[in-house]
Structures are given as C-alpha cells and as structure tokens.
C-alpha cells in the first residue's frame, strides 16, 4: 500500500525528440503500477504531446531552458506534471475539424491538446507560475474508465 506518492523526476533539454525519454519513463512507471497496455499507450501519447507543447510553445525551442517531468505514483492513480520555464503559453485547446483541415481552412497541426484531453482522465494547465513557466498536470486512474472515450478499461 502506497501512503506517500512515489516520485520519479526527469529534466529534459528543450529539444524535440527528448519527449520520448519522458514517454518511455512514464510508460515504465505505469507498467509497474499495473496499468493495462492500452492505457499505457494512451499515457505515452499524452505525455509526449505535453512535452512537445512545453518544448515548442512554453520554452519556444530555447535550448537554454529545460522541461521538468514529475511522475507521482499514488495508490490508484498516476499524476504526470510537465513544467516548462519559458515565457510562451500553451497551445490553445480546440477540437480539430478534419473537414476544415482537408479543405485547408484549418492548420493541419494543432491536435496535441485535444489528444491529451481525450487520452487521460484529468488534465489541468497552469500558466504564468511565480517562478516563470507553465505546467500541465495529467492524471490517469487505475480503475476509472473514461466514459467519454466511448470505451472502458
């Protein structure tokens, strides 16, 4: 039984590609906790997209800044906090419209926040921290099916 969260922390450089380090570490932690393979896959994509957001939008690709990823393993949930140090703000959340994208009326990109929201159980974005930067907090629960995904565990 876990009484205090067990914390794993990573510091990533602001370089695209390093989101895979966070993604694979989060997957390992989730596997230790007993998450099913499909939930681990959901978490991997969500963590990767949040890190890309921090690198591209938060830190604005400034390689003097870092991204800190903190994974807190609780009794029945895993919280992943992705903090950047930059002046930028997170990509705005909107539901991508494939019809508009195919017509060239909407950028083909801009799907990361939507995927994060769809793939994990809870998401919170906090901008303009007193020490600078922003963070995203993603949570997945071991036993709480996310009904709006249209599937159970």
């Amino acid at each position: 039984m876990i009484t205090e969260p067990i914390v794993t922390e990573l510091r990533l450089p602001t370089r695209l590609g390093f989101e895979k380090v966070a993604m694979d570490t989060a997957a390992s932690v989730a596997q230790i906790m007993g998450f099913s393979d499909d939930r681990v896959d959901d978490l991997k994509t969500a963590v990767a997209e949040a890190c890309i957001n921090a690198i591209e939008h938060g830190n604005q690709l400034n390689n003097l800044l870092g991204v800190v990823v903190t994974m807190s393993m609780g009794e029945a949930s895993l919280e992943v906090r992705i903090r950047d140090q930059g002046p930028g703000v997170s990509e705005e959340m909107h539901t991508p419209d494939i019809d508009r994208k195919m017509l060239g009326e909407e950028t083909p990109r801009g799907m990361g926040m939507f995927l994060i929201q769809a793939l994990v159980d809870e998401v919170e974005y906090v901008s303009g921290q007193p020490t600078g930067g922003n963070y995203a907090r993603l949570t997945i629960h071991l036993h709480a099916p996310k009904t709006d995904r249209g599937e159970g565990q």
Binding site: L16, G17, K20, D42, P96, I98, D99, P108, L115
Partner: protein, 114 residues
Amino acid sequence: MVTPTKTNVEQTGDVAVMRFEGDITSASEEAVLGKYKSLASTTKTILLDFAKVPYLNSSGIALVIQLMMAASKASQKVLCFGLSAHFNKVFTMLGLAKYTTLHADEKAARAAAA
C-alpha cells in the same frame, strides 16, 4: 532520440505503396511529403504502410493529413495499414478515418483498394 524516417516506395502500375520505417514527427516532411511528390503522376491508389513506425506524434499525423489533402486534390485514394491498435484509435479520434481507410495488413488494404 527520434529515429529518422525512411520511406521505401514501391510503384506497380497505378498503385504506390509508401513503406515508412522509423518515427514520424515534424522532422519527417521529406520522408512523407517529399516522397509523395516523387510518385508517378499516373498513381491512383496510395497505400501507406505504418508497420515499422514505432512512434507517431501529432506533428507527424499533420504530415499524413497534408499528404491526404494533396492526394484528395489529385483524386487519389489513400489507404493505411499496419497501424497499432492505439494509433488506429488515434486516427479515428482525429477524424482521419473519414478520408482514408484503416486496415490491419497489406493484404486487407489491397483487397479494399481493388
């Protein structure tokens, strides 16, 4: 780090198979859109093989959407196969299944294209 994308193109008549190998990310523009532009102008059907793609992010999916946009303008049909169950779900969530079809393997994709 990201594994660079390689794309092997097999062209048989008016059918082209683009076999991707490696991660598909924002760095994959040449491997996705560049290779698409190199297809024969007579191409009517394009099969995208994702069986050897371990990592695909939203920027990579955006390149696939751009390929689909170009194919749509050229009246070409695009079919995908070899995606993991997770990325099948992601493609469906994002609405891509409205403009392409998702198949388990090449045999199923070719049968659907015929």
